[in-house]
Symmetry: C2
């Protein structure tokens, strides 16, 4: 079955559009998703790139308007959260534990939904606990595993793995040796996965 | 008739995809194009943004691969030029004169085509002269008007006009008060122009 690595930074705005629809799109297309939570800031630091949307910049103002328009045209619920950027580290740790244990997709969808429709911010204890409970797991248990030294180290090891793949933003999709960046490229990545499922270039 | 301002920096890579198809798309849709050549570097300088694709960066490497894939999927001829970035000032001056005289689209299409399919680089005298001649004008005449003090000053005045509109990249499309950035948003801009032709929000 064709497969796509889905690299997600949990503070990324456009990644909401992807998280809200990739699960269903991949199911319809018959493509397997390999969720790869990571932290974008250390990746961009190593590349001498700043945060993609400097506060007060024209680029940030555009991003908010464009995001809203895109959410509307994709018919996704959208409510601008009260804070940006957020500290995504706690969510990334939980998500990485979920990647190891097979519930990363469900947690990620719920954490993003809470952030982007209920202003329950990613990175807060409330967001983590509500998202974990919503997928039927015990919040204390999961948070213990998420904050274990092994899990913290494993999440950090995602940084060189992301850099190896040429990643510099979120969402990113890796299909074989091809990289696709941005929610705009989601359909392109799925299409590529379907056409090159046998590993053909 | 619905109308779109098309803001183009002549050294921009993704702008090739737009220049190669926007004329025909707009004709089919019944939308008027208002060409607005400008210089992106001073706009980004005022916003403390660097050039979008730092040399040797993962982002630049991605851009080249993505551009080629996009050109292929849009069935546009594509040959990677031997230099990047180029000095776009001479081309922008000619294009701005063309904007005043009504031949901006034809010159722009030809200058980009020479750059992106024949490695005849935008910004060189050869590119300018061949593009001007191809649209049936006298190169010496046009270059004289392009390099007149009035034209130089008018092109410079595009910088504050771009900033006023919230522009920070190329291609950018302005439809009423809505800004769309990137070749990916071309269809969205045309769609917006058609749905809001009466000025409705």
């Amino acid at each position: 079955m064709p497969s796509i690595e889905v690299w997600i930074e949990y503070a990324s705005t456009y990644s909401y559009l992807t998280v809200a629809r990739i699960g269903r799109l991949a199911e319809l297309a018959g493509v397997t998703l390999d969720w790869q939570p990571f932290l974008l800031a250390p990746v961009r630091e190593q590349q001498d790139l700043g945060w993609p949307f400097p506060e007060q910049s024209a680029k940030a103002a555009y991003m908010w308007r464009d995001l809203e328009r895109r959410a509307n045209s994709l018919r996704l619920p959208y409510r601008r959260p009260s804070a940006y950027p957020v500290n995504s580290l706690p969510a990334a740790r939980v998500a990485y534990a979920g990647q190891q244990e097979g519930w990363c997709r469900r947690f990620t969808e719920e954490a993003f939904r809470l952030h982007w429709t209920e202003d329950c911010l990613i990175g807060t204890d409330q967001n983590l606990r509500e998202a974990i409970r919503a997928i039927g797991l015990d919040a204390d248990d999961v948070l213990r595993r998420a904050n274990s030294p092994e899990n913290k180290i494993a999440l950090k090891a995602q940084t060189p793995r992301a850099i190896e793949r040429g990643i510099f933003g979120s969402p990113s999709f890796v299909v074989g040796r091809e990289l696709f960046w941005g929610d705009d490229r989601l359909e392109g990545a799925i299409d590529w996965a379907l056409r090159h499922a046998d590993g053909a270039p």
